[in-house]
């Protein structure tokens, strides 16, 4: 029976020869993840059920990134609960302020996930690791608690949509534009309960950073996971990160797909998603009339070094528009340090940006850049729902780092060529 790449990974983790879409399986997990918001709820469930040990089969990771450094007393209590749980069970992959980064940037960086592995995370953007050819998906806190206790999770085997990529991206266009473009085509529930399997000769032109961003937002199309084939770019990324042996799974040539979507990468424009859904996409050069108050460059979607480099290239020697607040958030301490060493922090600060400690912060309206009523932000984050970054009457426009940086300079939504041609 022919299988998709996702189905092959699930079959291997369920100890089955093959699986088909719709089948209910119990699969062994390689990684179980939670953060400072979902972790405490999982710990409550774990304790309520009376478990006295955690599974030795799956790696457990707890990352204090959402409201940390603690924004208030309640979030301090949440982190404390996770900290003492990690201590109680000797959980090594506990990341607190100083070591923590935004979880979906930190986990691949630390080699905690590898191609062919299966992961669940009590965070919807756990689907990011499909970029490495792993199966990873977001779940809730109770699933996380069960995963910590048993090292397993139940899944309904997903069907899949094949996204066939051809060509290569134009200047200024990156993974963020590709995924926004795709969500614009299929809608926020266009891949509901399904896998998005990216394939085609265009894959080789996408960097790991592009792939991480694309898989990160698979959930914004309703997908269970997004996944890329394993190639030389994957192998190069994994080199030196992880000592475990790993497996590159490949979809069968005759694997069943519910739909095939063709995207010519050379035709993808710089894309912006307008409020209040990621599917409301428009080309960036149509946004000149939309004035903005704040720019946020960071998050699990676009907080990687390549994103910082792209933003710094636009902001170098330029200044953000007077009265506009620009907040840059390198996603991990390692990325932050690289930004210092490469001079990006200086570039950002000379341009009038502030550079924040790693945190999810403003992306979900937590802290470090909340919007007031009537304010607008261009953000490299992943959701533009009502009230997502603050007041219910504020607005978030989703874009790539170069579009966000250019918009910071002009004060309205801008294609980067608008500032580069000046």
């Amino acid at each position: 029976m022919a299988m998709t790449m996702t189905q092959k990974i699930l079959a291997a983790h369920a100890g089955l020869e093959s699986v088909t879409a719709g089948q209910l399986i119990k699969a062994k997990l390689d990684l179980v993840l939670a953060n400072d918001i979902t972790g405490p709820v999982a710990i409550n469930e774990f304790d309520k059920a009376g478990f006295s040990s955690v599974s030795n089969d799956a790696r457990i990771a707890l990352v204090m990134d959402h409201f940390a450094p603690n924004k208030d007393i309640k979030s301090a209590e949440s982190c404390k609960k996770c900290r003492s749980f990690a201590k109680r069970f000797g959980i090594e992959s506990f990341y607190d302020v100083g070591e923590m980064g935004v979880e979906h940037a930190l986990i691949p960086e630390k080699g905690l996930i590898a191609p062919g592995e299966a992961a669940i995370g009590a965070d919807s953007h756990t689907c990011t690791y499909g970029a490495l050819g792993a199966f990873s998906t977001g779940v809730g806190s109770t699933d996380m608690a069960a995963g910590m206790a048993t090292g397993e999770a139940w899944f309904k085997v997903p069907s899949a949509i094949k996204v066939n990529l051809t060509g290569s991206l134009q200047k200024y266009v990156s993974g963020k534009d590709v995924i926004l473009h795709l969500i614009g085509m299929i809608g926020v529930d266009g891949a509901l309960y399904q896998s998005l399997e990216f394939t085609g000769e265009g894959v080789k032109s996408l960097t790991m950073s592009d792939r991480l961003t694309i898989c990160n937002m698979a959930i914004e199309a309703g997908a269970k996971n997004g996944i890329f084939p394993v190639d030389d770019i994957t192998r190069e990324y994994m080199a030196g990160r992880c000592e475990r042996s790993w497996t590159a799974f490949e979809a069968d040539a005759d694997a069943p797909y519910t739909r095939v979507i063709d995207i010519d990468l050379s035709g993808v424009p710089c894309t912006v998603a307008y409020p209040h859904l990621p599917e409301n996409t428009h080309p960036a050069d149509e946004g000149a009339g939309i004035e903005i108050d704040q720019v946020v460059i960071g998050s699990c979607t676009n907080g990687n070094l390549e994103d910082m480099a792209a933003a710094a290239a636009i902001l170098h020697g330029r200044h953000v528009k007077k009265g506009l607040r620009a907040i840059v958030i390198p996603a991990t301490p390692k990325i932050y340090m690289e930004c210092v060493e490469r001079g990006y922090v200086k570039t950002f600060m000379e341009a009038g940006c502030i550079v924040s400690t790693p945190t999810c912060g403003p992306c979900l309206g937590g802290h470090m850049g909340i919007l007031a009523a009537g304010e607008r932000a261009v953000a490299t984050t992943n959701r533009n729902f009502v009230g997502r970054m603050g007041h219910v009457e504020s607005e978030v426009y989703l874009a790539s780092p170069v579009v966000a940086a250019a918009s910071a300079v002009t004060g309205h939504i801008s294609h980067p060529k608008e500032v580069e041609s000046e």
Binding site: I37, S78, G365
Partner: protein, 163 residues
């Protein structure tokens, strides 16, 4: 198992950020979460909802974050069941795992209006609109989910497997 109450109706793509905004996620207290349920799209929900009421919505209900605080807030507000045309997958899992009844039923979600008196028979998967005198057949739960619910949710069911 049955549910009975009046319908409170919403549209498509109701996301977890409006079900329970992130600014309230530092707490895990279900009563406190319930006191802010839906407030960013419907300030009157909290004062209007009565125990047993049924939430009715369109496509992709519960899209967005994995926060279990969302189904917890809905359940703690007194809602006995959410009927929608479709659910986002993480919200679907979370609801089952914490014991919030949810049913996928396109015709009911389309037809039921705000305030309609609704009764649900979960065993038969039948939704009755008493106000309009109509019935709708919902998508029944797969057997293994029924079994999980009968054992008292996910944690109780794995506890049984492990011991």
């Amino acid at each position: 198992m049955k549910a009975h109450g009046n319908a409170i109706k919403y549209g498509n793509h109701i996301d977890t950020d409006v079900i329970i905004p992130a600014r309230y996620l530092a707490t895990q207290d279900e009563k406190e979460l319930a006191s802010h349920c839906m407030e960013d799209i419907d300030k009157s929900f909290v004062s209007r909802v009565k125990p047993g009421d049924i939430m009715v919505a369109g496509q992709n209900f519960g899209c967005g974050s994995s926060r279990e605080h969302a189904p917890i807030a809905i359940k703690a507000s007194g809602i006995s069941c959410v009927i929608a045309k479709s659910f986002a997958r993480i919200f679907y899992r979370n609801s089952i795992n914490i014991g919030l009844a949810i049913l996928e039923c396109e015709s009911a979600a389309e037809d039921i209006d705000e305030g309609d008196e609704v009764e649900i028979d979960f065993d038969a998967g039948v939704i009755t609109n008493i106000t309009k005198g109509k019935t709708y057949q919902a998508q029944p739960f797969p057997d293994f989910i029924k079994e999980m619910i009968q054992k008292g949710g996910l944690m109780a069911s794995i506890k049984g497997d492990k011991t």
